[in-house]
C-alpha cells in the first residue's frame, strides 16, 4: 500500500481501494448509453447529477454499460458488488485490525470513487437491505456526503463523482423504500437487443467464432426474447463458447454442437427455440 492510496479526512487516515480495469466494450444499443450519460450530466455548476438505476434481466449487459459509460467520460471506475449481507460499514469504511493490533480504516470502492471523483457502480443493488441503503441516503440527494459511524467522519463527494446502480428484475431482492426509490432515478431499462446488435455483441466476445454459429445462436436468442424467456446475450456467449470447444475437440456439425451445448448450458427447455 503506497501513500498515494491513503488520504486524511477530518484527521483520520483512510486507505483507498484500487480502481477496476476491465477489458470490455459496449456494442450496439447506443441509446441507453446516451440516456445514462444524460442522467450524469450537469448543465450548471449548481446543478447536481442524477443517480440512475439500470434495470434488466441478468446478463443483458447492465454492468458493461455502466463501465462503458464511465470510460466514455474518461473516469476511473470502482465496482462494489452488493449482496444480501452487505452492511452499511461495508459500503462506507471498514475497520481492520492490523498486525500491530491497531485499527486501520479502509474505504470501500464506493467511498474511494467519492474521494477520487470517479464513477461507482453499485452492482446488484437490489440485493442490499434497507439499512444499507439508508446509509447512502445523504449521498443520493443534494447533501452528497456519507457519514461513517465507524471512523467517526463525514466524507463529501468530489464534484466529479458519479453513481449508478444495477438491478436485476428477478425475485431475490430486498424491498427498497420510497425515500431511496425516489433518489435512484431515472430507471433506465435495458431491453433485449435487436438481431443485428445481439449478433455484434456475440461477435465482440467471440471474435474467433465463425459466422454460421453466431447467426444460429443469435436467431435462437431472438426467438427466446420474443417468448419472453430469461436467456440473454451472456447465455448465448457461454453457449457458443462451449459449442466451439466441443467442435475443436471432435469436429462435426456446428448446429448440432450448439444444440448439444444448449442442453448442458441452458437446459432441455431451451431446445424448442432452436432452428433446424
Amino acid at each position: 500500500m503506497t501513500a498515494r492510496n491513503v488520504v486524511e479526512i477530518e484527521g483520520v487516515a483512510i486507505h483507498l481501494a484500487h480502481p477496476d480495469d476491465l477489458p470490455i466494450r459496449w456494442v450496439g444499443q447506443s441509446d441507453v448509453l446516451r440516456q445514462l450519460l444524460a442522467a450524469w450530466s450537469v448543465v450548471d455548476a449548481r446543478d447536481l447529477p442524477m443517480n440512475p438505476r439500470l434495470l434488466g434481466k441478468p446478463g443483458v449487459g447492465k454492468t458493461t454499460l455502466a463501465y462503458a459509460a464511465a470510460k466514455a467520460i474518461g473516469r476511473d471506475v470502482w465496482i462494489f458488488q452488493a449482496t444480501m449481507d452487505t452492511r452499511p460499514e461495508d459500503l462506507l469504511i471498514t475497520p481492520v485490525v492490523d498486525r500491530a493490533g491497531a485499527i486501520r480504516y479502509v474505504a470501500s470502492p464506493l467511498v474511494t470513487a467519492m474521494v477520487r471523483g470517479g464513477v461507482a457502480i453499485l452492482d446488484e443493488g437490489n440485493r442490499m437491505s434497507e439499512k444499507s441503503w439508508a446509509s447512502l441516503a445523504p449521498l443520493l440527494d443534494n447533501r452528497r456526503y456519507v457519514e461513517s459511524i465507524v471512523a467517526g467522519i463525514k466524507v463529501r463527494a468530489h464534484a466529479d463523482f458519479r453513481l449508478v446502480t444495477t438491478m436485476n428484475d428477478d425475485a431475490s431482492t430486498y424491498e427498497i423504500p420510497e425515500y431511496i426509490h425516489s433518489r435512484l432515478q431515472p430507471q433506465i431499462q435495458l431491453d433485449f437487443p435487436e438481431h443485428d446488435e445481439e449478433k455484434a455483441i456475440l461477435a465482440e466476445n467471440l471474435p474467433f467464432s465463425d459466422e454460421a454459429i453466431l447467426e444460429y445462436v443469435t436467431a435462437f436468442l431472438q426467438r427466446a426474447h420474443a417468448a419472453d424467456e430469461r436467456w440473454t446475450a451472456r447465455d448465448g456467449i457461454n453457449l457458443a463458447r462451449y459449442a466451439l470447444k466441443r467442435l475443436a475437440q471432435r469436429g462435426g456439425d456446428a448446429k448440432a454442437a450448439v444444440r448439444e451445448a444448449s442442453a448442458f448450458v441452458l437446459g432441455e427447455d431451451a431446445l424448442r427455440y432452436f432452428g433446424p
Partner: protein, 644 residues
C-alpha cells in the same frame, strides 16, 4: 424579422415542420401586411398541395413518384411555415405563388440549424445569423431553385403587389437574395407533375408521419382557430364509453372531444406557442388521463421533477433546447412508469380532427415506410426523414390489444360470476407472506439490544460493536428480542381518503380457492370503468385484508359488528382483529390507525403493528395494487394477452 428586403420583396427564413416557424410567419403577416405571398413549394405540386391546405384541420398526405420510381410523401399539417403562409394568404384573399422548382434527386440535407425553440426565444433573424456561420455544402439544385423562387417573387411584385412576403428555408435566403439582383428567366419546370395523389390520413397513422408532434401541432391549430381553454369539463379518462362501461383499448376509440379538450387546456389560449409549456401541458394532461382511469398510476411530485430534469439533460446531450418526443417518452418511462409513457404516446400522437374516412379523398394508413390504401402496399421515401432508430413507439415494449369492432369486448360479460386472475393471486399471497415475515423482524429488532458485557454473554458477542468501541477495551454483547406472538391477518391500505366510497365503489369478500390461499376482503375501483379485454376488467385496490386459513370470512362489508368503523380501511382493520388467529395484525397504511383501535385490539388480546406504506417499495406496491376481474373462469386462459 426579414433577412433580405429588396424592392418590396421580404424574405422570411424558416425551418420546416416546426410550430415556432409557423408562428414566425403569423408574426410576419402582422408586421408586414403583405399584398402577395410566395412559398417554397414546387409549382408543379401547388394545386394538389393547396387542396390539402384547404382541407385542414383534417390532415392529408401528398404522394408523388420520382423519375427513379420512388414514392415521396409529404404530410400537410397546420404547424408548418409554408402551410401557415398559404393559409394566411388564402384567408386574406392575397395572390399566392408556389415558387419552388420541382427537382428529383434533391439530397436529404440535415441542415445544422439550431433547435427551432430558438426561433421562439430569439426570433428568425438571430437564428438565421447563427445558421449562416455554418453553411452546408452547396447542392447543384440550389441555384435553379433559388432563381425560381426569386422569379416568382419578382413576378408578384410586377403584378402590382407593393409588399411581397417570401417564406423559405434558412439555406435559401442568400441564394434568393443574390438571384433577385440578377436577370431572371422563367424557370423551366413541368406545369404539373404526373402521378400526384392526395389521401386522407387514417387517424392511427398521424403519429407515424407528421413532422411535428401531433399534440403540439394541434395546440397550434387550436390557438390559430381561437379555441380557448374549455370551460366545461368532460371526463379526462381515455377510452370509449358504452352506458356504464368504459373500454380502454389499445390505441383506437379515443374520444376526439377528450383529446381536443386536452389540447386546448395545454395550449392555454397563449400565442405564440411556447413548446416548453406545451410539453409540460402534455405531461399534465397525461397525468390527468391516467388518474381518472387508474389511481395506481398517480404521479408523485418527485417523479415530475425527475422527468423534467432528465428530459432537459437528454435535450442538452443532443444539442437541443427542448427534447423531442422520443426523449420525452424515454424520460417518462425512466422517471415515471411504462404505462405513463404509453398514455403519453397515445395523447401526443392523437389528432382530434381526423376522420377514419373522408368524402372527398381515399383514406390511407401509413406505417413507417409503407403505405396501405386499402388496395395495395407502396414503399415510401420520406421527404424529410427523421433520424433512424428514433421512432418513439419503439420505446414502448408492451403493445395493448384493440377491439376488432366497437363494443366487441362487452359481449363477453355474462354477469353470472366473477373471478380473479390466478397469477395475481399468487403475487398478493406472496406479498402477504412477506409482510408477515417483515412484521416479525420489526418486532424482534424492537426488542433486541446490544450492551457492554458485565456478567452474561447473553446471545453472543457483538463483534461489530466491540470493534467500533475498540479504544474502550470493552466487549459488547447482543440480546435477541422475543416476538410477542405470531403474525396473523394483514391489512394493506393504499388510499385512506375519506371519499373512498365514491372512488372505490367496488367492495367484495372473496374466499380462498384452495388451502394455500387466504380469504380476502377488499375495496377497489369500479370494474366496468376499465374494460381492457373481452370480459376482463382492470381494477385498482383502495385496500384489502388477507386472512388465513381460508374459508372463514363472512361478508365483511355488511357485517353489523363493524358498524363502529368510520371508513372502509377501519372496517377492514376491525375484521382483521376479529378473524386473526394469531396475536399480531400487520397494518400497512399511509397513516396509523386511531388510538381507539389499539384499545380494541388489547381487549381482544391482539396487537396492531403499523408499518408506514412508504417503507414498502413503490414498485412492489404498483404490482400489488392492480387486480383483474374476469367474467367467468374461461377468461383465465386469455387474460395474459390483455393485461398491462
Amino acid at each position: 424579422m426579414f433577412a433580405v428586403v429588396a424592392d418590396g420583396i421580404h424574405l422570411l427564413p424558416v425551418v420546416h415542420d416546426r410550430l415556432e416557424a409557423a408562428d414566425a410567419v403569423r408574426a410576419a403577416f402582422e408586421a408586414l401586411e403583405p399584398e402577395a405571398v410566395a412559398v417554397e413549394v414546387p409549382s408543379s405540386l401547388g394545386k394538389t398541395w393547396l387542396r390539402a391546405v384547404e382541407r385542414l384541420p383534417a390532415i392529408s398526405v401528398l404522394l408523388y413518384e420520382t423519375a427513379a420510381s420512388e414514392t415521396i410523401y409529404l404530410p400537410i399539417h397546420p404547424a408548418d411555415a409554408m402551410v401557415e403562409a398559404a393559409r394566411g394568404a388564402i384567408e386574406r384573399g392575397l395572390p399566392l405563388a408556389c415558387a419552388d422548382l420541382d427537382v428529383d434527386g434533391y439530397a436529404d440535407w440535415r441542415d445544422p440549424v439550431p433547435d427551432a425553440y430558438a426561433l421562439f426565444r430569439l426570433g428568425p433573424l438571430t437564428v438565421w445569423d447563427a445558421f449562416r456561420r455554418h453553411p452546408r455544402p452547396e447542392d447543384p439544385h440550389d441555384a435553379p431553385r433559388e432563381a425560381s423562387m426569386a422569379f416568382h417573387a419578382r413576378r408578384l411584385r410586377e403584378e402590382g403587389a407593393s409588399r411581397v412576403l417570401v417564406v423559405c428555408g434558412m439555406h435559401h435566403v442568400e441564394g434568393i437574395g443574390r438571384a433577385l439582383g440578377a436577370e431572371l428567366a422563367e424557370p423551366l419546370t413541368p406545369p404539373v407533375r404526373r402521378n400526384v395523389r392526395l389521401v386522407n390520413l387514417h387517424p392511427e397513422s398521424v403519429g407515424e408521419v407528421l413532422g411535428e408532434v401531433p399534440f403540439y401541432a394541434a395546440a397550434y391549430e387550436a390557438i390559430r382557430a381561437g379555441l380557448g381553454v374549455p370551460e366545461a369539463s368532460i371526463p379526462a379518462a381515455p377510452g370509449r364509453t358504452y352506458g356504464p362501461f368504459r373500454i380502454l383499448s389499445g390505441g383506437r376509440g379515443d374520444d376526439p372531444e377528450r383529446v381536443e379538450h386536452a389540447v386546448r387546456r395545454a395550449a392555454g389560449g397563449r400565442s405564440p406557442c411556447d413548446r416548453l409549456r406545451l410539453q409540460w401541458g402534455l405531461v399534465r394532461e397525461t397525468e390527468r388521463a391516467l388518474a381518472s382511469s387508474a389511481p395506481d398510476e398517480r404521479v408523485e411530485p418527485w417523479q415530475r421533477r425527475n422527468l423534467a430534469r432528465f428530459a432537459r439533460n437528454l435535450a442538452a446531450g443532443g444539442g437541443g433546447l427542448v427534447c423531442d418526443l422520443y426523449d420525452l417518452l424515454a424520460a417518462a418511462r425512466a422517471c415515471v412508469t411504462e404505462n405513463f409513457a404509453w398514455e403519453l404516446h397515445r395523447l401526443a400522437t392523437a389528432w382530434p380532427w381526423q376522420q377514419e374516412s373522408a368524402v372527398d379523398l381515399p383514406t390511407a394508413r401509413i406505417r413507417a415506410e409503407e403505405m396501405f390504401d386499402g388496395v395495395r402496399r407502396i414503399r415510401l421515401t420520406r421527404r424529410r426523414r427523421e433520424a433512424k432508430g428514433r421512432r418513439p413507439e419503439s420505446l414502448l415494449r408492451r403493445r395493448r390489444r384493440d377491439e376488432s369492432f366497437p363494443g366487441e369486448w362487452l359481449r363477453d360479460f355474462d354477469g353470472e360470476s366473477v373471478c380473479s386472475y390466478p397469477p395475481e393471486d399468487v403475487i398478493v399471497e406472496a406479498f402477504g407472506e412477506y409482510l408477515r415475515r417483515r412484521g416479525k423482524t420489526v418486532l424482534r429488532e424492537e426488542a433486541s439490544r446490544v450492551v457492554p458485557f458485565t456478567t452474561s454473554v447473553l446471545d453472543g458477542i457483538d463483534v461489530r460493536e466491540t470493534i467500533r468501541h475498540w479504544s474502550e477495551h470493552r466487549i459488547w454483547v447482543r440480546e435477541s428480542g422475543r416476538v410477542p406472538g405470531e403474525v396473523g391477518a394483514v391489512v394493506v391500505v393504499f388510499d385512506d381518503a375519506r371519499d373512498g366510497e365514491e372512488r372505490y365503489p367496488f367492495a367484495m369478500t372473496w374466499l380462498g380457492e384452495h388451502a394455500q390461499e387466504s380469504d380476502m376482503a377488499f375495496y377497489a375501483t369500479a370494474p366496468e370503468q376499465a374494460v381492457v379485454g373481452p370480459g376482463i376488467c382492470r381494477v385498482t385496490y383502495g385496500g384489502f385484508l388477507l386472512s388465513y386459513p381460508p374459508g372463514r370470512l363472512r361478508e365483511v362489508w355488511t357485517d353489523a359488528d363493524y358498524a363502529f368503523a368510520e371508513t372502509r380501511p377501519e372496517r377492514l382493520l376491525l375484521a382483521a382483529l376479529d378473524y386473526s388467529l394469531e396475536r399480531v395484525v400487520v397494518h400497512v397504511a399511509p397513516r396509523p390507525p386511531r388510538s381507539v383501535f389499539h384499545q380494541i385490539a388489547a381487549r381482544l388480546d391482539r396487537k396492531i403493528l403499523h408499518l408506514p406504506i412508504g417503507t414498502v417499495s413503490p414498485g412492489t406496491l404498483r404490482r400489488i395494487r392492480v387486480l383483474h376481474v374476469l367474467s367467468g373462469r374461461e377468461r383465465r386462459d386469455v387474460a395474459k394477452e390483455y393485461i398491462w
